[in-house]
Every structure is written in C-alpha cells, then in structure tokens.
Symmetry: C2
Subunit: 135 residues, 2 copies
DNA sequence: CCTTGACCTTCCAACAGTGGGAAGGTCCAC
DNA sequence: GTGGACCTTCCCACTGTTGGAAGGTCAAGG
C-alpha cells in the first residue's frame, strides 16, 4: 500500500504519517522501486492506535510509551493505567483552568450592558480599574 | 524605566515584552543612550492589561482588538462584549472536548484492573479490539 | 511515444507564545 | 577599573500539524 491509501484507511493524513516517521513514532516504511513508501496492513492498525490516542489528547511522547506497552506481551496493566490516569489528571487540570477563565468571562459579560456606549466592565477589569483581582 | 523593572511591575517577562514589541502588540520603546529600551509608567499599565487578557486565555490577535477598544473613547461596549462572548464560547467548546476525553479516560481506567497482568481495556480500546467507537 | 493527471518524494516555513541560551555591550557601585 | 547586574540581538526549542514549492513516478488514453 502507498501512503495515501494508508492515510485514508487509518484516518491519519499522509503528511502526518511522514511526520510520525520523521520523529520516530513509527518505523521508516520500506520503499518501492520508485522510492514510494510501502505499507502493510499492520501499519494501518498502528496508525489507528495512534489516532485514537491523539483523539484522547495524549501527547506524542505518551503515545510512544503506550505503543511500547501495546507491543509488550509482558506489560502490567498497572503501567497503562498509570499513564491514562496521569493524562486524565492533566486534562482535569486544564479543564479547571479553562472553566475558571470561562466563568470570569461570563461574569464580566453579564455585567456589561453591551450597548453603543463606551462604559464596559470587561475593559475596566482588564485595565485593572475596578476590583478585578490580579493573579 | 528599563525592561527588567517593567517586567517585574507588569508581571510580563522581559523576554515576552520584547516579543510583544516584535510582533507589534506594543509600540517599539524609546531607546536610551546605551540602546536600552526605556519605558513610561503607562507602558506598565498596558502590559498589565495584556497579561490579564492572556490570563483569561485571549489569543494575541483578540488582545490587539481589545487594546484598540480600550483606547477608543468612542467604543461601543457591545463590541467588547461580543469579543468576550466569542472567546467564552471557544473556551466552552474546548472544555467540552476535554471533558469528553477525560470522561472516556476515566471510564477506561475504571475498567482496567491495574495489576501486573497484561490484560488492559485501555490498550484494547486504543487498538480497536473491543467496542470502542472510532470517531 | 507522449501527454495528462493523480500520486508520490523531499525540504522549508508557518502557526501561538513563550523559554533558553550564546555572544556581546552598558551601567553603577566600590 | 573591575565585578556583577543588567541590557542588546539572534537563533533555536517546544507541540503537532499543515501548506506549499519543486520535482519524480505511475497508469491510462490518444
């Protein structure tokens, strides 16, 4: 299979597959006579794994670890779980940050009349004119 | 004032202040005899505004808009509110995405025994071995 | 045989927003 | 005048992907 077909089947773009190869996330593919990358069905499987992990927000380096564990018959599920939980904790942390931002924004927006006059609590808060607490 | 003092007072690092100047977010500072950037108290004010906006997750280009509105005496608060609400909507969207990821991760982690044996629903889900739905 | 078009190749650059560090100049106090 | 704190510019790194340019390959059809 050529890269385009693998891209279609795996849901990972050809561009990104080449990128993954360049950073060593996947092995360098064999080449055909015309120097085209040549893939086996197994590679599609691997790329789908990567895509699913990316969809869960795992960073590339974590995916590296997950791939190793995937192909390790002697793995401990505890190792996998630890990675998943650590990532979940990071996500929860990001969510908390974003929620705090969103809550502040909604609060400020509620306080803003949104008319054609310049008075605006949002701008004032950013300017530090009122009781808006800096970090 | 030199950049270091402005950095301390504004909470924006000297490195970042130079970056902001280079991308035109703030005006190029006057230079002293020794080619040092020279700032006025007003610049601290402006940088604090930027820092607060960054803390709310506004991207640089939105902050550009907000700065323009800040210094526009004839602004409409509706314009400010629109920017704030658009950004809040983006944050809400990101939050929803992250929450979906985190929920899936927590679900998978709950299903994983986390012991020293290889069987692991997390890996299996990524591999597509089970009923895990691809996007 | 030659062209067309779809596909592939490599390499370079960009996005956002900093941080790190090198190599060098300036200022101030002692 | 010397040390040390500060400043300067410049380039690279991060994260992950995308876009584009310039060119090679392959199959089909005239």
């Amino acid at each position: 299979m050529h890269i385009g077909q693998v891209a279609t089947m795996s849901g990972v773009s050809a561009k990104t597959i080449r990128h993954y190869e360049s950073i060593g996330l996947i092995e360098a593919a064999d080449r055909s006579a015309g120097n085209y990358r040549s893939y086996r069905p197994d590679d599609v499987h691997r790329l789908r794994f990567i895509r699913r992990a990316r969809n869960l927000g795992f960073p590339i380096d974590r995916i590296r670890d997950l791939l190793r564990l995937w192909s390790d018959r002697d793995r401990s599920s505890a190792d996998v779980k630890a990675i998943a939980l650590a990532h979940a904790a990071e996500l929860d942390h990001k969510i908390a940050d974003l929620r705090a931002m969103a809550a502040t924004l909604h609060r400020l927006a509620d306080a803003c009349e949104g008319n054609d006059r310049p008075h605006c609590p949002i701008i004032e808060s950013l300017a530090g004119d009122d009781g808006a607490p800096g970090p």
